[in-house]
């Protein structure tokens, strides 16, 4: 019995963290979010692809690494901690899983190999399946897709896009197809990109098994939620580390502020809230990989609970930094914002909890 990450997982995780520390420090992140470092951002992306980030879950027969979701979860923690300014949850987790579980043989061959070779990347627009805002709506008929997807993740510069209708039928379109109109959104978190996509009678390749089964959409969304939870976990840990470190340096009233009990207790509360989230997220990923019966509920719990905890940590860690925390200078806000967007993506906590209640037939 062993409950935790394996040596391999930790090793890989540390490599990603080290890479981000070297290549993507706060100055770089700042430039990227100001739109002034597209090339550097591309280099960071390429560097992480060299480590294998795009093909973690893709089976070896399609040129991937054939690893499990727990492995990807470990990586996602590092991306959250280091503000990894790259696509991940959508393109490299949800999209391959949808194809692995929903595609026929030909589709798997067609897509997964190219994805592992990085000659194809897919953005994911499932928001309307989970909860359509602003009357957005996707309809798929006769291998054509029409409608509007409001919050497509990892879609900027993606060669392909993936959508689902309300029934969980998933299909893939080429981003350059005629009838597609793309609008860039501006979310608070600018380390990642989000698009609105309008579609009018666009040719779509429907993943064959998804016309009769929800397995692919369920798997894809469960995994996406666990991965986003892991991202927030990493981001929250970064915030706690920063708050504790700052509290040991900053002096007021001739004392370091970390000696004030109000500050100590805020830090202790953050740690006490976050620590069980590690176990929860890993456990959820483990269930995803090994016990499908528990997997959906665990994914809901992981995403909703970590979202709540991270939100509080975003607030408290900023407070520990005082006015500095509120400045752009200190950069605390990057993690605050990343957490904020993770929280809403693939279902805000209330939405997910209602889903968790239904999964249990309440």
């Amino acid at each position: 019995m062993y409950f935790g990450l394996s040596e391999d997982q930790i090793f890989f995780q540390e490599n990603v963290s080290k890479f981000l520390e070297d290549q993507s420090n706060l100055d770089v992140i700042r430039k990227i979010t100001e739109g002034e470092a597209n090339e550097i951002q591309q280099e960071i992306h390429d560097g992480l692809l060299n480590l294998g980030l795009s093909s973690l879950l893709i089976p070896e027969q399609y040129g991937g690494l054939g690893l499990d979701l727990l492995f990807a979860t470990a990586v996602s923690q590092s991306l959250g901690e280091g503000l990894g300014p790259i696509p991940f949850a959508g393109s490299y987790i949800m999209a391959p899983l949808a194809i692995m579980h929903g595609g026929n043989k030909e589709q798997k061959n067609n897509y997964l190999i190219k994805m592992s070779e990085n000659s194809m990347r897919i953005g994911v627009g499932f928001s309307e399946y989970i909860g359509a805002r602003d009357n957005a709506n996707i309809s798929i008929n006769d291998n054509k897709i029409s409608g509007r997807a409001l919050f497509v993740i990892d879609a900027k510069d993606a060669s392909h896009l993936m959508f689902s209708d309300k029934n969980g039928m998933i299909g893939i379109v080429e981003s350059s197809s005629s009838g597609i109109e793309i609008t860039e959104l501006v979310a608070v978190d600018k380390t990642r990109n989000f698009l609105e996509v309008q579609l009018k009678d666009v040719d779509i390749d429907i993943l064959e098994l998804t016309s009769t089964s929800k397995e692919a959409i369920d798997k894809s969304i469960d995994a996406g939620r666990i991965i986003l939870a892991a991202d927030s976990l990493g981001a929250s840990q970064a915030l706690i580390d920063k708050a504790v470190e700052y509290s040991k340096e900053r002096k007021q009233f001739n004392r370091v502020i970390g000696s004030f009990q109000a500050v100590k207790h805020m830090c202790a509360e953050m740690a006490a809230d976050l620590e069980p989230c590690y176990a929860l997220v890993w456990h959820a990923a483990h269930c995803f990989d090994n016990s499908p019966d528990e997997s959906r509920l665990m994914a809901c719990h992981a995403k909703s609970h970590v979202s709540e905890v991270s939100k509080t940590i975003g607030k408290k860690a900023t407070e520990v930094h005082g006015g500095m925390g509120f400045t752009d200078l200190m950069g605390v806000h990057y993690w605050f914002k990343r957490i904020g967007v993770n929280r809403q993506t693939l279902g805000a906590p209330e939405v997910i909890r209602e889903e968790a209640a239904r999964i249990q037939n309440f």
Partner: protein, 407 residues
């Protein structure tokens, strides 16, 4: 990640499951009538609590690693087997072995630091439930700041003569013995002046006054000492080492206060209740606000359960660092339980406040009772604030509390 206990435990698990089947529905002829945290279905055999305890020791389902000569089972210490026993018992709704401060705190202390004679004398009757212990640590002026305790012990003619007062002493009224912290070295520095002494509760000069607690159930007491005299040999460890001896067992206490599986059982009881209970004819489980809070709590308890698996894992796998995961358990576990029980009271509204033997009582009044009881546990055994001091100082390396002069 590997959540299988391994094939060598499969047989053991089946053995325990069979045992649980055999004893399903067991009832005690002498059970205390307090609202229990679990609802046992009592439709089976009726035996005495102490008989049940003997059966469990014989099977190795409790006191597993306590040597036979001291009345235990005499097996290897095996955390996973303990876990299997706890899980299967709780799944089968079979009452677990006796616990309490004697079994959970004193026995491990004696095994670690007691003399041979002390082990022989005390462990066996304690395990069998024949000797109940209370913990005499806190004093009116020494709660969180326990090391400032002033109850005085003087060695006179080969006896400890003890004077002073303890307070909040749980179960003193039922106990045969007390393990007690006493200041025996008045000139030594605060922590170095304390000794750990065992006191029979029927010693002349020892007076117990019940202290009614919030739940109005028999809980804790004040204990007064007037020239209470016990033999010199009733000390554990050396003179002045009592602080270290006590700290060896505080860890055991904190672990025992917050069982995540019991908490999850309460979540499941709550779900059942919400399916039955209605407001304006509508089932509580169908009301969105309640559903939302229920699932939020269920998620937290799930996280807490997973956290305890991680802590368990670190005990088996050397080198796995789960320092903070272990340190937060008392704080998180008691706060979470209080929140859960309080939420149940909330959703039942006025009915949730019914108590004792009121008409229309739900689940024996256990929600209201445990809601208050867990507030006590948030305070007892080191308050939540003290836990936060510990987490921030020892877990996060933040500065220690400043020392005030004269302390």
């Amino acid at each position: 990640m590997d959540l299988n206990y391994g094939s060598q435990y499969e047989d053991f698990k089946i053995e325990v499951q069979d045992f649980c089947k055999e004893w399903h529905g067991i009832n005690f002829s002498d059970a205390a009538k307090t609202p229990m945290s679990q609802n046992f279905e009592s439709n089976g055999k009726t035996i005495k609590r102490s008989e049940w305890q003997s059966i469990l020791i014989e099977k190795g389902y409790t006191a597993r690693s306590v040597p036979k000569e001291y009345g235990g089972y005499g097996g290897e210490s095996d955390i996973i087997k303990n876990r299997i026993i706890a899980t299967e018992f709780s799944n089968a709704k079979i009452p677990s072995a006796m616990g309490g401060q004697g079994i959970d705190m004193l026995v491990p202390t004696l095994l670690e630091l007691g003399t041979e004679e002390q082990k022989k004398q005390y462990i066996k009757p304690t395990l069998r439930g024949e000797m109940i212990w209370c913990q005499g640590y806190s004093e009116p002026n020494a709660g969180s700041d326990l090391a400032s305790l002033q109850t005085k012990g003087e060695l006179i003619d080969g006896n400890w003569v003890i004077n002073g007062q303890k307070i909040w002493t749980s179960t003193a009224q039922f106990s045969q013995m007390m393990f007690c912290l006493v200041r025996t070295e008045p000139d030594a520095q605060k922590h170095a002046g304390i000794s750990y002494i065992l006191i029979p509760m029927d010693t002349p000069g020892l007076e117990i006054r019940p202290l009614v607690d919030m739940t109005l159930k028999p809980g804790f007491n004040e204990v007064f000492f007037t020239d209470v005299t016990v033999p010199e040999g009733n000390i554990i460890g050396k003179r002045g080492e009592g602080w270290a001896v006590a700290n060896a067992t505080l860890g055991h206490e904190r672990g025992a206060l917050t069982d995540p599986n019991a908490t999850m059982n309460r979540v499941n009881s709550l779900i059942n209740r919400m399916k039955k209970e209605t407001i304006d004819g509508k089932r509580l489980i169908d009301i969105p606000v309640y559903r939302d809070k229920l699932i939020a709590i269920q998620a937290k308890v799930t996280a807490f359960q997973s956290n305890s698996l991680r802590v368990l894992s670190s005990k088996i796998n050397k080198g796995q660092d789960t320092k903070i995961a272990g340190m937060i358990q008392k704080l998180v576990g008691t706060e979470l339980r209080h929140e859960l029980e309080g939420f149940a009271v909330d959703i039942m509204g006025e009915l949730g406040t019914l108590y004792e033997d009121s008409p229309n009582l739900r689940d024996g009044g256990s929600w209201q009772f445990l809601y208050m009881y867990y507030l006590g546990l948030i305070i007892g055994g080191g308050t939540s604030q003290i836990q936060k001091n510990i987490i921030s100082e020892r877990g996060l390396g933040m500065p220690r509390e400043p020392k005030v002069q004269g302390n």
